[in-house]
Structure formats: C-alpha cells, structure tokens
C-alpha cells in the first residue's frame, strides 16, 4: 500500500535531496548552537541529561515527520510517533527532577515555562495522533518543540528561589493553565493550516503567508534592534552568567557592526516574494508566482546564512556600546527571542518547501478537510475554557499580590484580546455556521494573537518604547 502511494508521487529525487540537505544544514547548525549549550553534568536521570535526551529524540521525531511528509512511507511516521513518546518520557523525567530539586512545580521563569510548554505540546501531539488520528500533525508541532528546547538550552536554568510576589499557589495554577491553553491553540493552528492545504488553498497563498510571517519577524527585529547598520544585542557577562544591566530593568545593548545591514537585506528578500504575490494577484499573471517561488529559496538561504553569521559573530566578538565605555561580549543566552525568531523563520521556510514539493503526497496522508475542520473546532473547545480559567486565575493572583485584579497591563490586555478572538471563532461557528475556510482563518488569527501576547508583549512593546523618538 505504501509502495503504491510512493509510486503515485512525482519522481522527485532532486527535490528530496534538496530538502534533506536543507534539513542537514539545519541540524548541523543545531549542533553548533548546542556547543554553546550547558555542560551535561549530574545524574543520568537528572534534568540536564533528560532534557538533552528529549531534545535529541524530538529532533529525530521532527526529521522523521518531515521525512514522512516527503516520502509517504508509513514506517517513518510510526517511528516518529515512537520517538515522540520516548522524548515525552524523558521530558517528564526532566520536569519531575526539576520539581523535586526546586521543591515546587517549574513555572517561575522563562526556562521553566518553556519546559512546561514543550511537555504539553508533545502530549497534545500524541493525543491528536491517537485520539483524532491526525498523524501528520507532528510535522508542525515537533519542529516548534525542537526550537523551544534549543531556546531552553540557551536560557539561564539555575533554580532560583522565588521573590515574594511569585510565592503563590495561584501563580502555579495560572501558568499551568497558560501553558495548556497556548499548547492547545498551537495544535489548533497546525490543524487549521492542514485544513487549508487539504481544502485546496493555492500553494502561492501559503507562500504569501510564510513570507508575511518572515517579514513580521524581521520587521520586529529591525524596528527594535537596528542602529545605523548595526544590530543591537544584549551584553552578557560570561563570569556572572547574566545580562549586563545599566540600571534596574535596563539591560546594556552592544552593537554588532554590519549585522543590521545583513538583516535588512534578509528582510527585503522576504518582502520581495510577498510583493510579487500581490503583483501577480493584481495583474492576474501567473508567471510572477514562479519568480516569487525562486525568491522564497533565496530568502531561506539568506536566513540560514544570517543565522550562521549571527552565531559566529556572537561567539567570537567584543563590541562597543553607546551607553558605556569599553567593549563587551554577548552570548546566545542573552538573545533568546532574536534567535527563536530567526530559527522560526527558517523552520517556516522549510515547511513551505515541503508543501511546495510534496503537496499531493501530503494531501493523501492527511484526513479529509471536513475532519480537520471538526477537529480544529474540538481543540478550540478545549483551549477556550482553559484560556478563560487562565485569565481568571491570573486576575485572582494579581488581586492577592498587587492590589487589583485588572490593571490593563499589556500582557493582561492582550490575553483578553486573545480570549475575545477565540470567543469570536466560537460565536461565528455556532451562531453563524461559519465553517471551512473562514473558520480556519479565524483559528490562525487566534494563534497569531497568542504569539503576540506571548512574545510581542514581552519583547516588542518595551523595545518600541525604549528607543522611540530619538
């Protein structure tokens, strides 16, 4: 059966090779990044080693899911599922070990939140596979998991005792709910994307979406970090193992020369396919789509190059800062959001290429569009009550700790906006009977708002204010 399926696909050995080479490059970069990662000391069942094991297993699973996407061989997805399960077990051991060492569940800093997020995402992937029989979902959720674990390897992970405001059970409840609901939203996003593929949305439209995502990432990066051709990154003190601060809450920014220009170039290279898409739509001329496709290759290659140069410059340089005398070093742990944006853009590009070259095969492997639409709805029915309870628990905790249940803090406000968007999805579906494409777009919008709430509020908004108006 699987052999017959393989035969039906176009013989595309060149394309397969290219994809595997791309994956190989990504993996090599991974290993290079990990050279900057933590030393794996401690017992074999300890957190550091178990997390590393989980990383390796999840990376293997992600590659096999992608491989399944490329070749359609059942063995790949079964092996991927097995690796995901093993990775999940290792992940659980890491969580358990950290919990027992710290004496409390892991919810109090970025490292710990990512640990919980990754655990939940793996769990939901397995549930979607087993309960809803959507096997290919791993090809989207596992790369997200891998990116998150890489990010974690670069964040400070010492178990720090909690400052007074964080010593509260309601905090644990709030963060658990946040991680569960965001993971469910991520899964619904993956399902909505798969629906659009299965529903026959044109590949060019996916190209436009991917290009838009890349443009957003690099625009955000340039808006907050571009300084006359240099890229501003946070300075890092290697001995103290923390960021260099000028004053409380204000880290010191150093400037890496020319990296700003490079990322401007990358930004423009991502804008080009988007513009070409618009031109093609306006002029109704399909030839522009082909040029746009080539533009996508170019931007993905440039992004990989950008990542490699970034890693090289970060590891070997000391740079000046406008606000302090002398030269400072930086390190990977100092710029987690920057890195995750860059890696995320590359992963999105690779997924787009997978779609471009193997669309028919993918469509045969996925459940029907109708089924995907229904499962998206069901997952949002899980995500929405969790979101509601998360906001409520957060309000109760704020009331106990800070004197008010709602201060219109940007994080709170955007969480409420996220809630409204998903309420809108449910409303449109239940009362207006919106199904299919419109529902899928709504689900994708919801996840975009989740991403903004999680990353944009912490990272983009303060960045906008810190250096605005000269």
């Amino acid at each position: 059966m699987s052999e017959a399926r393989v035969e039906q696909q176009r013989p595309a050995s060149g394309a397969v090779l290219l994809v595997l080479v791309g994956l190989g490059i990504a993996f090599a970069l991974l290993v290079a990044l990990l050279a900057a990662a933590k030393a794996h000391t401690g017992p074999i069942y300890g957190e550091a080693n178990m997390l590393y094991a989980a990383l390796v297993l999840y990376t293997g699973a992600a590659t096999l899911y992608m491989g399944y996407g490329v070749t359609g061989i059942e063995r790949y997805v079964n092996a991927a599922s097995l690796l995901t399960t093993l990775g999940f077990v290792a992940n659980t051991a890491a969580v358990a070990h950290r919990w027992s060492v710290a004496g409390r569940p892991p919810f109090s800093n970025m490292y710990e939140m990512l640990l919980s997020f990754v655990w939940t995402l793996a769990l939901l992937t397995l549930i979607a596979e087993r309960a809803y029989k959507v096997k290919i979902i791993g090809s989207i959720t596992m790369p997200i998991t891998v990116v998150s674990v890489i990010l974690m390897q670069l964040l400070p992970s010492d178990v720090r005792p909690l400052v007074p405001a964080l010593q509260s059970t309601w905090l644990q409840v709030h963060v658990t709910l946040a991680m569960l609901s965001y993971a469910a939203c991520a899964v619904s996003f993956a399902l909505a994307m798969m629906f659009l593929i299965q529903d026959g949305m044109k590949t060019e439209a996916f190209q436009a979406i991917t290009a838009t995502g890349m443009v957003a990432v690099y625009a955000g990066m340039l808006l907050t970090r571009f300084r006359s051709g240099n890229l501003a990154v946070t300075a890092y003190d290697m001995d103290a193992k923390q960021e260099v601060m000028i004053s409380r809450g204000h880290p010191l920014f150093i400037q890496i020369p020319d990296l700003g220009w490079l990322y401007l170039l990358v930004f423009l290279s991502a804008v080009v396919p988007l513009i070409l898409y618009i031109v093609a739509q306006v002029k109704k001329d399909r030839s522009f789509f082909d040029i746009a496709s080539k533009g996508m290759f170019v931007t993905i290659l440039l992004q990989v190059m950008g990542l490699a140069i970034f890693v090289a410059r970060v590891k070997n340089g000391r740079y000046g800062a406008p606000e302090a005398e002398g030269l400072f070093a930086t390190a990977m742990p100092a710029n987690p959001f920057l890195l995750s944006g860059i890696v995320g853009g590359i992963v999105a590009g690779l997924l787009y290429l997978l779609l471009l070259w193997r669309r028919e095969g993918l469509q045969k492997m996925m459940p029907s569009a109708d089924k995907l639409d229904t499962v998206t709805y069901k997952i949002i029915c899980i995500a929405f009550p969790l979101l509601t309870l998360m906001i409520a628990a957060g309000a109760y905790w704020a009331n106990q700790a800070w004197g008010s249940y709602w201060s219109w803090d940007p994080k709170e406000t955007w969480a409420a906006i996220t809630w409204l968007v998903y309420a809108g999805y449910l409303h449109m579906r239940i009362t207006r009977g919106w199904k299919g494409r419109r529902a899928a777009w709504f689900a994708i919008l919801g996840f975009a708002v989740v991403i903004f709430t999680f990353f944009g509020v912490t990272y983009l908004l303060p960045g906008l204010h810190a250096y605005a108006a000269g």
Partner: protein, 482 residues
C-alpha cells in the same frame, strides 16, 4: 414616526448580534492601542517624556490616548456593550424558555417532517411496537415517557434539557463581570501610602489620570508597629513583612502581620505589602563619648526620643535633630529633610537631674569639644526607621467578577460538554390501512455522533420489528428488507 417606532429601532439595534460584535471590536482596538501607547497610570513620567517628543505627548494627552482605560468614553463603551449583551439575551430568552418549559412532547405530522433524523418502520401491532421502541430507547440511554395527545400515544425521551441555558449563563456571567468592573470604575479606588515604623497615618495617594496625584482619607489610621525584610543568600528579597494595626476613633480595632500575597482586608478595604525601604528619619543616633577627665572613648547609641545611660548616673538624650542645617543670626535652622549635613542638640543630664545642652554641627567640626561638659561627643552614625510601602485598594465590584467567573465556568462546561438531545416515537397510519412506527430525533450539537447513535436505534428497531423501512427523504441510509 412616533416614540414607539424610535423605541423599536433602538431595540432592534441593541438586540442585534452585529451591534455587539461591532462594539467589542471597538473595545478591542482601543485596548490594543492602550498597550502600544504608553499609559500614564503604569508608566513613570520620565519614561513617557523620553518616549515621545513634547508636542506628541501633549497631543496624546489632549486626545486622551495616554489613559484610555480610565477615560469616561471607554467606560461608556463597556456599558454600551453590556447593555447590548443584555438586550440580545433578553430578546432571545423567551424562545429558550419555551423550549425548556413547554417541550414538544408529542410529535405531530408537521413536527415530524422537520426533524433531521427519522425513520418509519411498518409494523403489525402498533402498541407492541411502541413498547419495543420504549425498551430499545431505554437501552440506548433514552428513558422515554408515554405521552397522549388527541387519543394517540407516543413516546418522548430527552437528555440534558438544561443545556439550552448554557449560552444565557455564559452571557449572564459576562454581564456580571462587566458590571463588577464598571462599579469599581465608578466608586472604587487604589492608592499608596508609606508608613514609617511607629507612626499611624491615614491618607493615601491616588494616582491621577493626568500623571498628577490626589489624596484620599481612609476611614481609619494604619499604624506600623514593625517592618522587616528577609533576603536570600544572593541578596534577592525573600520576604517582606509588616506588623500593622488599624486605629478607628483613637482605638485599635484590629491587627495583623502582612506579607506579599497575603493582604489585610478590613471593611472592604484591602491593604497590601508593596515595598519596603529606609526612611530618612533616624531611629537611633550613634555617638562616640570621650570622658573629659581622660579615658577611652566609648560608643553610645541614643534612641531619637529616648535616653541612653552613661557612667556615673549620667544620661544622654537628643533634644533637637536637624538633618540638614544652616546657621543664621546665631540660630540653627533646617535647610532640607535630606540627612546631608546634620546638626544635633544633645542634652547631657547628670545624676542630680541638671541638663547641659550641647551642639554638634557636623560639617563644622563633628565634636562638642570646647563646650564644657563631662564628656566630649562626636556623631558617628545612625540607624534609620524603616517604612513600609503599602498599596490600599477598595474594589467592591470584585465580588461581581468572582461570581461571574464561577458562573462562566459552569456555563462553559454546560455549553461544551452537555447537549440537549430529544427522541420521539409514535404510531401512524401509512395511508394504506397499515401502521408505521415513526421514530425521530434531534440534538443541538455533535450532530455526527448523534446520527451514529440514531443509526444504532434504527438498527435495533429493525432487528426486533423486522420489515422494510419506508424510504424517508431525511435519513441517509435506508435499510433493506431483513
């Protein structure tokens, strides 16, 4: 045009779902703007001046975009949304109540035709068929009751009729939450107060909309009997605590030690531990005393309002403390409250009770040398009074919020995890002298699973009663003769 038609128009607009969606989008957009533009209540004035040029900042202030969430028009928008929600729910409630209070128990002919799932099976004995159906429905989880209408008997079974209220419960809870917030917006307040150790104060500072401040008197005084901080090994704060007592009409009413996350709640007013610091009021002053007749200097610590004992029955007290002094016309005056350049007037009381007044002027010569006294004093240091930083809030509407949250939890559970399913059965004439057992059903969600269940019922009926199924335009599968 009359009042009635105006009212009808208003009613139609307010009870339209589109109006509600429009209003909530407007609220969402302004909320988003309020996160991108710095807001005065949550930003330091310095940060705002650094982020925007003076002209931009003045413009933003004037339009009201620097304090969107406390602006009157924002509150009005929320009120309008609330009103719309009430109208929408009230408009649709009679229907829901009808479904709940007056369910259709008997499936008459027009009703039968409208159902999505139904099947007709020819039978010989109608009464027996009905009993069989009753049994099968019971087996499938639908406990049917017998209903009679105009001489005919039928079956009616339903599950979870209350599920129709789910939406109303969710909307009611939302209204509760908004109402609570609006109440707090109108009569609630939040402010801060710093109470140094040993003092009792009762006036809080409220942060104003325009970045200014206003004061409000509390109905009681807060006295700080002690405050402290514990830190971890690396210096980061572990615990801040304050021992507080509330004084009403001069008498202590109630006392509690508070920490962060454990506020003091009294008469609807909540007092939170927000910060801690050192004030610039000394608790004790530390002097070095050298006996005039010779001897080694010793350290004396004098509480600001007390005495310290010296040898020979003598004691030292502080008569005047001036943190920052200047001298004019032979008198010592206070320049500022910053303890930059202190002057201290000491009182040295001997065993007989006579007090000699001595001056120490810190920047001139930190000594009482030259002033005849049993000892020579110089100021060596001080310990400072702590102050406790408290946040005080009165938000009675919060009960609306918490009640609303609980209601919403129930509402969502009912909305997502219960469904209202109904099944009917009755015996009808087939128009050719024979009888048909008609069975039909409907549900308000999870239609695919209900359809599968209905297929089960169909199959069981078919098995027991035999006979071909009369083709029904609504049902997808038609069973062939068994």
């Amino acid at each position: 045009m009359g009042l009635k038609s105006i009212w009808t128009k208003i009613y139609q607009t307010l009870s339209s779902v589109r109006t509600g969606i429009f209003l909530i989008i407007v609220v969402g957009v302004f909320s988003a703007i309020g996160t991108v533009i710095l807001q005065r209540p949550t930003s330091e004035p310095g940060d705002m001046q650094r982020a925007y040029s003076p002209e931009t900042l003045a413009l933003l202030d004037r339009i009201g975009l620097t304090d969107i969430f406390h602006a009157w028009w924002f509150l009005v928008l929320l009120c309008m949304f609330c009103t719309c929600l009430i109208f929408v729910s009230v408009d649709r409630w009679p229907n829901a109540w009808k479904v709940y209070a007056h369910p259709v128990r008997f499936a008459t002919a027009p009703f039968r035709a409208s159902l999505p799932q139904s099947v007709k099976i020819p039978v010989k004995d109608g009464a027996n068929a009905l009993s069989v159906a009753e049994r099968i429905l019971g087996r499938c989880g639908f406990n049917a009751e017998r209903v009679t209408e105009s001489g005919a008997t039928g079956l009616f079974a339903e599950k979870q009729r209350f599920a129709v209220f789910a939406v109303y419960l969710v909307h009611l809870s939302l209204i509760c939450i908004f109402a609570g917030y609006i109440v707090d917006g109108i009569i609630g307040y939040r402010g801060t107060i710093q109470v140094p150790e040993g003092q009792a104060l009762g006036q809080i500072t409220l942060r104003d909309n325009r970045g200014g401040e206003s004061k409000k008197d509390l109905p009681f005084l807060i006295r700080c009997d002690g405050a402290g901080e514990e830190t971890y090994a690396d210096g980061s704060p572990k615990k801040w605590w304050s021992k507080l007592a509330l004084i009403e009409n001069g008498k202590e009413s109630i006392a509690k030690t508070i920490v962060v996350n454990d506020p003091f709640v009294f008469k609807g007013i909540r007092i939170y531990q927000a910060s801690m610091g050192q004030s610039s009021t000394p608790k004790t002053l530390i002097f070095e005393a050298t006996p005039a007749k010779g001897g080694s200097p010793e350290k004396v610590e004098v509480p600001l309002n007390g005495k310290a004992a010296l040898a020979d029955g003598e004691s030292l007290s502080v008569l005047r403390w001036i943190p920052d002094y200047y001298v004019q016309d032979g008198e010592v005056y206070k320049k500022s409250d910053d303890p930059e350049n202190p002057a201290v007037q000491l009182g040295l009381t001997n065993a007989a009770g006579e007090t000699k007044k001595l001056w120490i002027l810190y920047s001139q010569a930190n000594t009482t040398k030259g002033q005849e006294a049993a000892y020579e004093f110089s100021l060596k240091g001080a310990t400072w009074l702590k102050y406790t930083g408290l946040e005080v809030s009165h938000q009675p509407g919060q009960f609306g919020i918490w009640i609303g949250v609980v209601l919403m939890a129930f509402g969502l559970v009912i909305a997502f995890y219960t469904q209202h399913s109904r099944v009917w059965a009755t015996v009808i004439d087939d128009g050719k002298g024979g009888q048909l057992l008609w069975t039909g059903g409907t549900t308000n969600k999870n239609r695919d699973r209900f359809q599968a269940k209905f297929e089960q019922i169909k199959a069981a009926l078919q098995e027991e009663l035999g006979g071909a199924v009369v083709a029904n335009k609504n049902s997808e599968n038609t069973l062939t003769k068994a």
